[in-house]
């Protein structure tokens, strides 16, 4: 990180985690009404740590990430409350020119669909080199040399020969590697990976996840992995935040959540996935549909689909109850959910 940035974003002078999202609220004002996409999300990630944000489409996991990066479309998006602290400094209050420095150097992001995230009319090497030219003012020749080094680092074969190729000349897995090369170009402290392997085949997915883990180990980055795949999460995460209807419904260290979930939604998800290691009977299916963000259910957003529902779930929004120092569940009856899993 450059000098200017470290002055603004005080290095080492605060006590909290590297990145803290605190009670974030984001809504979208659309013609059909106000869609409350993120309703009070709180999570944190530290250097070298992997946080998995797990949720289905519409749960607000990507919107939270876009808000952290400062790439949310506004309007229609609007941040209506909360803080995002990076090294203790609230990013949402920073002016755009300083925000821009954090992006790429402090926090960077890998997107799901590499083909649409890369510019089709420029060579990939040029696009990677752009990071150095824009942020560091590196000369063209020097930046290109660095681009080749990065392509080597993410293991693109014959990087030197391929630096002038265009995105369409690469396979899906190779494009994702190029995205990763761009994201790690400026040695960020936090890397957000939004469904990085969803569009890839399973053997290529294993390669990419292995690469991400290795890069994280080498540079001690904090990694926020956004995904809906419970298998990928079990493989790499240290801790998990499960999102539903724009809120975190459960957060837990990875082993605790898989062994004994404390929210009916996480429990339902774990029971509803088919397994490759044994053949089950009929799958448990969470009944009903994910909530419509324009008309959120009253009380707990999960109550229309929940087998543990009581009367107060319809009226009272459950807070994120603390189960232990590192665990929380937004369910009035989390004790019951946990107890049932224990026998």
């Amino acid at each position: 990180m450059t000098e200017v940035l470290s002055e603004q974003v005080g290095r080492g002078s605060h006590s909290g985690a590297l990145l803290e999202v605190d009670d974030l609220h984001v809504e979208f004002r659309t013609r059909a009404g106000v869609a409350k996409a993120v309703n009070g999300v709180t999570y944190s990630v530290d250097a070298g740590e992997t946080l998995a944000v797990l949720g289905e489409s519409g749960s607000g996991k990507s919107v939270t990430a876009q808000t952290i990066m400062g790439i949310l479309d506004m309007p229609p998006g609007k941040i209506t409350g909360g803080e995002i602290r990076f090294r203790g400094v609230d990013l949402l209050k920073l002016p755009e020119d300083q925000r821009r420095r954090v992006r790429g150097e402090g926090i960077s992001m890998v997107f799901q669909d590499a083909l649409s995230a890369l510019n089709p009319v420029f060579p990939v090497g040029w696009q990677i080199a752009e990071m150095f030219r824009m942020h560091r003012g590196t000369s063209r020749a020097e930046a290109k040399k660095k681009a080749v080094e990065l392509m080597d680092r993410v293991r693109i074969p014959a990087a030197k020969d391929r630096v002038n190729d265009f995105p369409h000349q690469f396979s899906g897995g190779m494009r994702q590697r190029i995205m990763i090369a761009m994201a790690i170009a400026l040695d960020p402290e936090i890397l957000i990976a939004d469904e990085p392997t969803t569009a890839l085949d399973v053997t290529v997915q294993a390669q990419i996840m292995g690469l991400l883990a290795e890069l994280q180990r080498d540079s001690n980055m904090g990694l926020i992995l956004i995904t809906h795949d419970l298998g990928v999460v079990a493989d790499v995460a240290d801790k998990i935040a499960v999102m539903y209807g724009g809120r975190i419904v459960e957060n837990a260290p990875v082993h605790d959540l898989y062994k004994n979930p404390a929210h009916p939604y996480s429990k339902g998800l774990l029971e509803s996935i088919p397994r490759v290691d044994h053949k089950g009977q009929e799958l448990y299916a969470i009944k009903g549909l994910p909530p419509n963000l324009l008309e959120m259910p009253t009380g707990c957003a999960f109550h229309p689909r929940c087998p543990y529902r009581r009367d107060n779930c319809v009226t009272d929004v459950p807070p994120l109850y603390t189960i232990s120092g590192t665990r929380g569940s937004a369910c009035h009856y989390w004790r019951e959910v946990i107890d049932e899993g224990e026998h």
């Binding site: 489409s57 996840m209 079990a234 082993h255 088919p274 397994r275 448990y284 969470i286």
Partner: protein, 338 residues
């Protein structure tokens, strides 16, 4: 899931090559994409055959060939002994009634300008002798009810439904002509996890109720294991291993199957540090120019000279009961290996 041994579909040496041409006025063929390159299997009444493989291995082309949407370069697809690949006109139309398809993407496979009633009822317009005109609306409502949709929603449009509900509409359309075979091409891959389970349970219930045979094409190996009685693994246009779900998942013998299975993340963090992974290098080769001999040899850790010279046949190998196309086939449990 019961399966008897009566074959209702027999596929033999099916080949589909798409020509690659050069030149605008005078087109010269300079090669061919070998999308499906000699595939043979049987499908029995009431069973589910899962077909797994990575993108570009030819699974969707295979589905199109079975539906007679594409004509094969060679080979045959026999439904009750009659070859659908050579059928024409009225005979083809009659045969198609018996094989229907559920598509992958419920957002693009339904016409946004047609109501649900029109979409599900369209097969009756084409095959007008199945249900008399007066009874069609009632039949469509029955179908909606069978797949778990509200029959009163018959006049709604696709955009008024969620992804999972749209997939149910696609399934209702597939059921309309009471086929014996349904080809499901990635039917749940576009759906959220919690909805995936609902649709898979529906497919299983319908199979038991109507004695349907499914060809279930998917890239998700966990989904395929859950629903299939038998599984075929494809790589670059060929079936490399074929067996019951237990044979394929618990004692795979082909190195590709082993690599594929070991790459699937298991949703359980216990023991993840010691789990053994076979990580393949690189991407699958282009089907326009597959390697000689065994197509997998360029990424295989067992490859020797014989693999480049002789194409291994899909046949039972010593020490295992199911066919595998590898010279060095050897059973190895990779899923449960810790």
């Amino acid at each position: 899931m019961k399966a008897n041994t009566e074959s209702i579909l027999e596929v033999r040496d099916l080949v589909k090559h798409f020509p690659l041409t050069q030149g605008i006025v005078v087109k010269r063929q300079i090669g061919a994409i070998k999308a499906v390159d000699g595939v043979s299997f049987d499908l029995h009444r009431g069973e589910t055959l899962g077909i797994v493989g990575e993108s570009g291995c030819g699974k969707s082309t295979l589905a199109k060939l079975l539906m007679a949407l594409e004509r094969p370069t060679s080979g045959s697809v026999r439904v009750h002994g009659r070859d659908i690949t050579t059928a024409r006109g009225a005979e083809l139309k009659r045969m198609r009634r018996n094989i229907q398809m559920v598509m992958q993407d419920p957002y693009t496979s339904l016409n946004p300008r047609m109501t649900v009633g029109d979409i599900v009822g369209e097969p009756f317009e084409i095959h007008s002798d199945v249900v008399p005109k007066g009874g069609r609306r009632r039949r469509v409502q029955e179908l909606l009810e069978v797949v778990g949709l509200n029959p009163d929603h018959i006049n709604r449009y696709p955009h008024q439904f969620s992804g999972g509900q749209r997939q149910r509409i696609g399934i209702a359309r597939g059921l309309a002509l009471q086929p014996e075979i349904i080809i499901c091409d990635e039917p749940v891959s576009a759906l959220d996890v919690s909805i995936q389970a609902q649709v898979m349970n529906l497919l299983e219930r319908l199979q038991n109720e109507f004695d349907l045979a499914y060809i279930f094409i998917a890239h998700d190996l966990s989904v395929v294991r859950h629903i299939s009685d038998r599984v075929a693994v494809m790589y670059l246009g060929k079936i490399v291993e074929l067996g019951s779900d237990a044979e394929i998942y618990d004692s795979p013998t082909h190195p590709y199957t082993q690599a594929l299975l070991s790459a699937v993340p298991v949703p359980d963090p216990e023991g993840r540090e010691t789990r053994q992974r076979i990580i393949l290098q690189g991407d699958p080769p282009s089907p326009a120019n597959p390697p000689s001999g065994c197509h997998f040899r360029t990424r295989c850790w067992k490859a020797q000279d014989i693999c480049a010279e002789q194409t291994p046949a899909l046949e039972a190998r010593p020490g295992s009961g199911h066919p595998s196309a590898c010279h060095f086939a050897e059973a190895r449990d990779v899923v449960n290996a810790q």
